[in-house]
Symmetry: C2
Subunit: 227 residues, 2 copies
């Protein structure tokens, strides 16, 4: 019987959360869902599939075509470049899709409802939320309440990384045995494998591993590979 559903993006944080869920709810009781929402880098989806396979959890891919139709943002609109800095009007990075996590979690909750699963797990973190307000705890708590009332269903949203630094998340991944899976995650904003190492996402990831004093298995995997 499935007890928990993890929103798995194919990145470092959600992969760590998948192993947190396996530890908390037990092997055989955890499933994962990934959203194909027209993200700029399709490699994220491949990474999610590989991580789920490695972790031996059932994995569902759900399409969301609405963000692309909404348009107007760099993550889902291939015509827009990822600009450094922030949007002048909103003071948010222009990769911002308003309400993206609210939508992901609500669809994940609908899937959990269908499968009689009462625990959702997401890797959002307030510590390095980069201007995405729907990664912060008050927003997640309000959404949990909206889902409980709107689905008339007892659902808990777990955010094991909410107040952790990247270094703390890396140490937690080691304790949970998630490091081998992290070799197959995707972080780079430029969509490169091996990772570009210079974009803000690569930089944040590298600093976390450095501070934790642990080599990044993803970087190790490509060490010695032809450039």
């Amino acid at each position: 019987m499935m007890n928990a559903l993890v929103v798995l993006s194919g990145g470092q944080d959600s992969t760590t959360c998948l192993y947190w869920a396996l530890n908390r709810f037990g092997a055989g009781h955890v499933a994962a869902v990934t959203f194909d929402y027209g993200q700029r880098h399709r490699i994220e989806l491949d990474c999610a599939v590989q991580v789920a396979t490695l972790a031996e959890v059932p994995h569902t891919l759900l399409p969301i075509d609405t963000f692309a139709a909404l348009g107007g943002n760099a993550l889902t609109d291939a015509r827009m470049a990822v600009r450094p800095g922030v949007d002048a009007r909103t003071c948010l990075p222009n990769t911002f899709v308003p309400g993206r996590n609210l939508i992901f979690l609500t669809f994940a909750a609908a899937l959990a409802y269908q499968w009689s699963i009462h625990h959702l797990v997401t890797g959002v973190a307030q510590t390095d939320y980069s201007g995405y307000p729907d990664c912060r705890q008050p927003a997640i708590q309000a959404l949990e309440q909206a889902i409980r009332l709107g689905m008339d269903y007892d659902l808990t949203i777990h955010t094991p990384l909410m107040f952790k630094t990247k270094a703390e998340t890396v140490r937690m991944a080691r304790e949970l045995g998630a490091l081998p899976a992290l070799a197959w995650t995707h972080t780079c904003y430029n969509g490169q494998q091996p990772p570009c190492g210079v974009c803000p996402a690569c930089d944040l990831r590298a600093k976390g591993f450095a501070e934790a004093g642990i080599p990044d298995p993803l970087v190790e995997r490509f060490r010695g590979s032809p450039a």
Copy 2:
């Protein structure tokens, strides 16, 4: 400048809300959005287009392919018949899509955000909510809070029909000058034009008009038409 965005399904209630919004925010300041989510009756989308045209409001159609992928319900899954009665497990009518209104309102909020609109209007009503928990006021209020926090945006969700009976809604439609538009709305669960007149939705609609003592413009439109 647009001030309000109405979630327009093409039905009686959302059409009445569109005229409520025109009255409250003024002609030229109201837009409408309709979701193409794979509903069983495509005629709803045609009705929404006709109503928006009649009301002279800008109208956006947004696709959502996720509900069909989630499957397992009669409204979006053409393989399932609409059964009378309720689902044994959930005690909900088996047309239930968990969280459908939560999703509609969150995507509408994302569109409102992009257009700098601060007022959403939806025709949900607690009075005849038919077991859809995301039509009830506590769920809408919790979602409003989740959106405000999750988008860091000042948004108000208006539910002018929340506590009205169908008869009160009909009288309100007359006061707002919405009756001509109601001739082009869709209600019938069986997707028929002219409406079948016997399904629960047709029945509820007919009772509302009868109690208000007002002829249904939709029925009038087909009066004398060949069967």
